[in-house]
Homo-oligomer: 349 residues x 2
DNA sequence: GTTGTCGATGTAACCGTTTACATAGCCGTA
DNA sequence: TACGGCTATGTAAACGGTTACATCGACAAC
């Protein structure tokens, strides 16, 4: 490898000391304007780029944010990363990405490996078990949590109000002369999934006729939705089915079609997340929309603020928005009630 | 920030020299087994993690691969990153992600910023103009190119055989008594798009009846597909429409429905890419499937090989697979002809 | 017993920055 | 003129690793 240009080369060429070059580049302290300009000109001529390792060694800053995700499947994560990346670019920060952390031990290892490479970490932990990892995070490393309705011990967190979203969807499905709403649940150890279940249950209790619970276990995968449709269909379909996420709802839709059950005529159907596919299936799917990219953006801003020495607000809750499409009968949702916090106060945080 | 544990602390606690600790950790040279074990035990006890900056400063390795993408929208990129990440994890490498490089100047800046932070870079450049950036890449930094059927000057590249894919789709659409196939093109400066156009044209020339060209300009966006449908519909629909990517095909599908033109009865329709949505639209979309994650995986392996001192093969061409769904009449594709290279030899590389 | 070889370990230079501290020049004031 | 204060710049000591080279025993060969 060819020898890289160093700050000393620049100093020599500009006929100043390395300290002056450093100061000129970092924009700090008082450097005479002509000197600064001259130095920057030489920097450009030599195409000098400071060595980030050396810089981080002496300044203890890396200008890099770590992003730890449980998985990378699907449009959900690409949206999230997009939001994070957008904000990072605007702030001149780099992004170190790591994903596919099935078990807590793996996540802990990834956290450790990032230690000296980043100034702060955005960590998404949907799995309940992963919470155990959080306290193990290095002391001096600001950690921002994403998803999974649990707050870390004093760590900033950005969560979706899954409870309120599920409540709203269930309420919507239970309207207009309906008698029963079945629920296809997500993985038991997934926090988002269990919050959605809680929302479903709470909404059922609030219905006038006090609908019976009807819960079928799923795993957030498309195939489990299809299977749930078979199970539910065989028992004689309810008036509506609420799947804990969109992928299961899509599988469910196919399963229902195969079983000759029409949506929405025979049964109303809804999902959760508002992934892009929901607009294109037939019929388009009623769901709860989550501002994914925006969450990512704000999480990064939060990291940047902490690094800059700020004390950010700890808990950020994002309200899902009910999106009513053809898969369910339309009935207006009381969005203002949600904003007033009527669902909200029941959230476990 | 609390002072981090350094290699000197470990050396002191283990009662050996820093050199021995370093050697024990890096697994090189001859360190007596008991010594090594003792050192590793202390390392674990103190929860010591080497400072990556210091390490990269003296060893000139970062164990990090840079990933430069033009954009992050949609499932295409999430699949790509997933493939790359998978391989990186397996190799113990980190990933530095940067995206949204609209113009070449921005891409060049990103490339420069990554210089001292990574050992190698995977760069996706779909835009023809971005090719200008490639030579500007730092000399000592191995660069692997992804996408955009052009080879860099001696750089390894991983490309999709857009020409062959488009040829196959056009040939498929032109079968069974068809007379005309319209093409909805992608952005003019996009290399993939123009290769697909070339494939369409070449296939038309090969048809028995020598179909006339019918090209409508699009931009790879859904809306432009819808607009194209209106244009085409107004002129009296052809027998088939081939959209240069799936998103436009989906827009086109909606546009045709609005115009009261039935797919596939009145007109056959096909896209390109095989993004997940294609399976769920109605009717499901015929398209050309590309092994996105696998491309990403191989690109990373290539980077890792180069870093390890290997001389990798330069050009990797991925054959799209024709996926025939309900949006077009079924007709078997001569996959073996493609493998034999019959389309292949006409590719500009 | 001396010498040579070899394996295990220690010493210290170096990697390229940042930054505390020293210094040099300039100007205004006493 | 001498001096204090201020600004612009230089000097050199960290930062935390890696690694070339030196050293030190132990053991084998003579």
């Amino acid at each position: 490898m060819l020898r890289e240009v160093t700050i000393r080369d620049v100093a020599r060429a500009a006929d100043v000391s390395v300290a002056t070059v450093s100061r000129a580049l970092n924009g700090i302290e008082n450097v005479a304007s002509p000197t600064r300009e001259h130095v920057l000109k030489i920097v450009h001529e030599l195409d000098y780029v400071p060595h980030s390792g050396a810089r981080s060694l002496s300044s203890k800053r890396t200008d890099t944010i770590g992003v730890l995700l449980p998985d990378l499947h699907g449009e959900f994560f690409s949206e999230l990363i997009r939001g994070i990346d957008l904000a990072a670019r605007a702030r001149g920060l780099h992004l170190l990405l790591s994903s596919s952390h099935g078990d807590p031990a793996e996540a802990a290892a990834a956290l450790r490996a990032m230690r000296s490479r980043v100034d702060s970490i955005i960590m998404m932990s949907l799995n309940a078990g992963n919470d155990a990892v959080v306290p193990a995070a290095p002391a001096g490393l600001p950690l921002v949590l994403l998803g999974g309705n649990r707050r870390g011990p004093g760590r900033p967190s950005f969560v979706i109000d899954n409870y309120a979203g599920a409540f709203a969807i269930t309420e919507h499905l239970a309207g207009e002369g309906k008698r029963s709403v079945a629920f296809v649940a997500g993985p038991a150890d997934n926090i988002e999934a269990s919050e959605r279940l809680r929302g479903y249950r709470a909404a059922l209790k609030c219905t006038a006729g006090s609908f019976p619970e009807w819960i079928v276990q799923g795993d957030f995968g498309e195939e489990s939705g299809r299977k749930a449709a078979r199970t539910i269909g065989a028992a004689g379909p309810p008036d509506a089915i609420f799947c804990a996420n969109d992928m299961m709802a899509i599988g469910c839709l196919e399963g229902l079609r195969e079983a000759g059950i029409a949506v929405p005529d025979d049964v109303a159907l809804a999902g959760f997340d508002d992934i892009p596919i929901t607009r294109y299936v037939n019929p388009p799917l009623t769901t709860a929309a989550v501002p994914i990219a925006e969450m990512g953006r704000q999480a990064l801003e939060c990291c940047a603020d902490i690094i800059a020495g700020g004390k950010p607000e700890l808990h950020h809750i994002f309200q899902p928005e009910l999106v009513i499409r053809a898969s369910s009968a339309a009935r207006s949702w009381d969005a203002t009630a949600n904003l007033r916090g009527e669902y909200h106060d029941q959230i476990t945080l």
